[in-house]
Symmetry: C2
């Protein structure tokens, strides 16, 4: 398996990316192609005694920043490290791409360089998130703010195919439609129109799910328009951050609390690990012709190592081919009707 | 101040409601009208030694359940405890209503019994929520799944008027538009159309706010369509619940953790109090002709007592009159243009 890694994406590039890639090569025996400024990569690797064994470098001098418009990946920045990575993927030089760079640019580049799977209306960005139970996929989380019912049904199929490979569950992944209540008649126009389509989709559709039950792990694939999916994702992140910060504050507020905090630290650490998103490598871009993984912008070495593992598993799973097959079948069914 | 309390709404009716009302009468010196089955109320009060001093009972034998359709408050259940409470308010027999019953029914009854303020497109349900900083208002949180830009602007004005009375801040409440990013050009059609309207609204509009920053207290009034507002509200609740449950589990996982947990308990308790929503009495229904408060369905006595306090303060603030005045002024301005 050969994973193409954008060495200049995210807050901690390139050092943490090189570390993570070296960890992944050792741990999973995969090959890595790094894209980015070759001289800088070699220098940082040398200064930090990171072995580049099993890694190839494809030079790209340009870098996209968060200030650059996503579209510029197709024009002004068409030779940046992310664009080069996606082009290598499109040309079949590697099996998957991992980047922690701008989400908008990755979405744009994924859609127009790696290209949409035939029949897919719009690719979706789908993070794998921790829950009290098993990890779940949220699809879409921001690629498409305004959605049509057919798009949500496609998200459900793509997410279900991915999850059935990566986190198999008897009976198939439980697909839930994010809604304001669990009753069949809840929601706005979009949800009311999507519900019957999902019911007839042949998926393991468990009906509407409320945001309140999502962190508990009520569904394996939570289907949403990109706007409310984004609100769910970021509210979870913001609430965990706020609570953890306050917990720290509470623990430091007196000597008694400080001593207690020292004692509960191991329990807290394992909780933090359970709720950490870095385990699952970030988000996957579904609906394009090859696996593209969006790692968290603030990922450290462990996060990149996980993302490379997820990318390998995703590439090995054949999920992309299965989505292609489904879209082809769907198209001929629609034509036959 | 005379607060009308639906004695048969919510999971803990009528016992916790009677307790909470008695607490409020003692603590704030307000008068209370209880609506519901008089015989049951007197019996429960007697069995639990709850004084009904300062309270009047208006008999209503019928009760709405969560299974009843919201519209039935206007027809089949027009004599239920909630409908009777709202009718008393509409007739000026009290200054505000508190109910922990069905949200849909309260919204329906509020809109058609208490009636919309002239010029208001749609009343909104707006919870007051805890943040790391000061409490904030989320408007709308589910009354209107599909919204038009003009509705969001009205929500912003109504929320701003309410918050400037209840939680004054120099320069006026900071109004933020819930969005997927902070840049001016973010969002779907609704947000893109609403942004310029809010910019020209004369409100203290701070721009787009991300869900990630909302729990930290980035804005005093968070404006959203009812669907994504509902997702934000319930994700916060679900995430706090999930974390607290896991924290408990982590603390009980070993003797060392148990001892530590005993020591940090006071710190945890004050954190729990800080993040508790019951302090702020629940949600307010804005855009109707008199103050209506939706208490949490699972409220206990303390929650009802807070809700009655909030109802008194809301009624005393003159916020409803100010919203009426604003809508009247707005209408004549629009006509003059």
């Amino acid at each position: 398996m050969k994973i193409i890694v954008d060495a200049f994406g995210g807050d901690n590039a390139p050092l943490e990316i090189l570390k993570g890639a070296a960890m992944a090569v050792t741990a999973y025996g995969c090959e890595v192609i790094l894209t980015g400024d070759e001289q800088v990569i070699r220098q940082v690797a040398q200064e930090n005694a990171i072995s580049l064994n099993g890694m190839e470098i494809v030079h790209a001098s340009d870098v996209m920043t968060m200030e650059d418009h996503p579209k510029s990946i197709l024009r002004e920045h068409k030779d940046c490290s992310m664009a080069v990575a996606l082009r290598l993927l499109a040309e079949g030089k590697g099996d998957a791409v991992v980047s922690a760079g701008s989400t908008g640019a990755l979405l744009m580049g994924g859609t127009f360089i790696v290209k949409r799977i035939k029949g897919v209306s719009r690719p979706a960005l789908a993070p794998i998130m921790p829950s009290d139970d098993a990890p779940f996929m949220l699809i879409d989380c921001g690629a498409n703010a305004d959605c049509r019912p057919e798009m949500l049904v496609q998200f459900a199929h793509m997410g279900s195919i991915y999850m059935s490979h990566m986190f198999p569950r008897e009976g198939g992944p439980r697909v839930g439609l994010l809604n304001v209540g669990t009753e069949d008649t809840k929601g706005g126009e979009l949800q009311l129109a999507t519900f019957p389509l999902l019911k007839e989709s042949g998926l393991n559709f468990i009906g509407n799910v409320e945001a309140r039950d999502v962190p508990a792990g009520v569904a394996d694939v939570v289907v949403a328009d990109g706007f409310s999916g984004n609100v769910l994702l970021k509210t979870m992140e913001g609430t965990v951050d706020m609570l953890m910060k306050n917990l720290k504050g509470a623990f430091m507020s007196s000597l008694r609390n400080k001593i207690g905090a020292m004692l509960v630290m191991p329990g807290l650490r394992s909780l933090k690990k359970k709720l950490s998103t870095s385990e699952y490598g970030g988000a996957v871009l579904l609906g394009v012709n090859a696996p593209v993984i969006k790692a968290h912008g603030n990922s450290k070495a462990e996060g990149f190592c996980s993302a490379i593992r997820v990318a390998s598993e995703f590439a090995a799973s054949g999920a992309v081919a299965q989505i292609e097959e489904f879209m082809g079948k769907k198209k001929s069914e629609d034509a036959a009707q």
